[in-house]
Symmetry: C2
Subunit: 245 residues, 2 copies
């Protein structure tokens, strides 16, 4: 029987998960950052990722509904406010729509979720079910992919602006905002996990929760690569880039 | 506002879903039936599909728990009995293990579910959540892929026996049994759906449920094709055929 990790060792263990499994290492993201995706492939990515974005407040509300302490709730509710905004013209989901607009996708089609890959749906729904069904510690730990997102976003925005002339700063406003939101959210969640995961069992569960979340993100890119890069087999009903002007 | 379909029209609508979306049309199955998959690729298929098999009784128990009439329950419980058997040496899950045994996979590794693709987990779990959360009609309609399995299984068994010399009748016993079980189960479920889905809304929901289930099966093959055929990118932690003797 091992002794529990120190808080610093636990943080190192969590960071190691990111080094090995965060989706910045995925071939689809590598193509994106190298400017090698076609507009149609970027459309497919933005369209599918919209579903993930649209479910994030639902995921966070599920976590919020399980928090017994108002102090925790007050911090966590900000995620929902950030994502939903104060009206229909604001918030992270709206900023994602600016991206799909900029890519020439019809807004009603994006919001209808028609054309989203089944594998995207299943992965996103697995995430929502995970935070409903697992411990609060695991639910919070699963959010820690935000620890790894900053450098990815920075690299993505600068390379996308440089390489895709149909994109501009306004279209990519979502990512800009996340550069300040994500570290604040990640710090809060990391401090919670370091404070609350003190047994070997809880520490293993926290690390496994972060591995699970990396798989949720990674498998969405697997599905995109499969359907839109190689072998480029689109499942029945999936978005067809050629059908868009 | 359209009028509801007749029972025969509804059946035709359900069969059309199978013609368009059942996974016998998937390139991975086409490679399998043409004898063009390597042993390692068949191993990956059997290993991932084991998770689906292992969750089927859980899925059926969730449906059973929602049936208010003993008459329905008596018919449905047979699925669980068939799949779990009367002891550890019987039942559909055990027959699937005969297949993974025959393919040279270590039983403890298969049953540990380590190595299963995340996309397999998410698709299978989406199925379990679907039958828990949707109406009983939709839950039952989602089982109707069994209407389409017979000819697929017949083709698969004969072509696998002819082309893969490491397979034999005992190893493929799972499929043999399904040739009698699946039509019985499918007839019962189809009659239920034809009898109970009488409004336009319920008929649409039944058809959508069957489309959903086709996507559950199809996306599992998408993930296998992606990870083990082309581009053959294995997600972190996934089964590595080269690591097996």
């Amino acid at each position: 029987m091992n002794a529990p990790l120190s808080a610093e060792q636990l943080e190192a263990g969590l960071r190691k998960v990111g080094e090995e499994r965060y989706h910045d290492k995925h071939p689809f993201h590598q193509l994106m950052n190298a400017g090698k995706l076609s507009k149609g492939q970027l459309q497919a990515w933005a369209l599918n990722r919209f579903y993930y974005q649209a479910m994030i407040p639902i995921k966070d509300a599920a976590i919020l509904s399980r928090m017994e302490h108002a102090e925790l709730r007050r911090a966590w509710r900000q995620r929902i406010i950030d994502h939903d905004g104060d009206n229909a013209d604001q918030g992270g989901i709206r900023r994602w729509i600016a991206l799909t607009d900029g890519l020439g996708l019809e807004r009603a089609y994006v919001e209808s979720l028609q054309g989203v890959l089944p594998a995207t749906r299943f992965a996103v729904e697995a995430y929502v079910h995970f935070v409903r069904e697992r411990s609060l510690l695991e639910a919070i730990a699963s959010s820690l992919t935000e620890m790894f997102s900053q450098s990815t976003i920075r690299e993505r925005v600068s390379s996308m602006l440089a390489r895709y002339d149909f994109l501009n700063v306004d279209v990519l406003a979502y990512f800009d905002k996340r550069l300040t939101q994500a570290p604040r959210d990640a710090d809060f969640a990391l401090n919670y996990v370091k404070r609350e995961a003190r047994t070997v069992q809880d520490q293993k569960a926290a690390i496994a929760a972060l591995e699970f979340k990396c798989a949720v993100l990674w498998s969405q890119l697997d599905a995109l690569y499969y359907a839109y890069v190689t072998p480029a087999f689109r499942p029945p009903g999936a978005f067809n880039p050629e059908s868009v002007a």
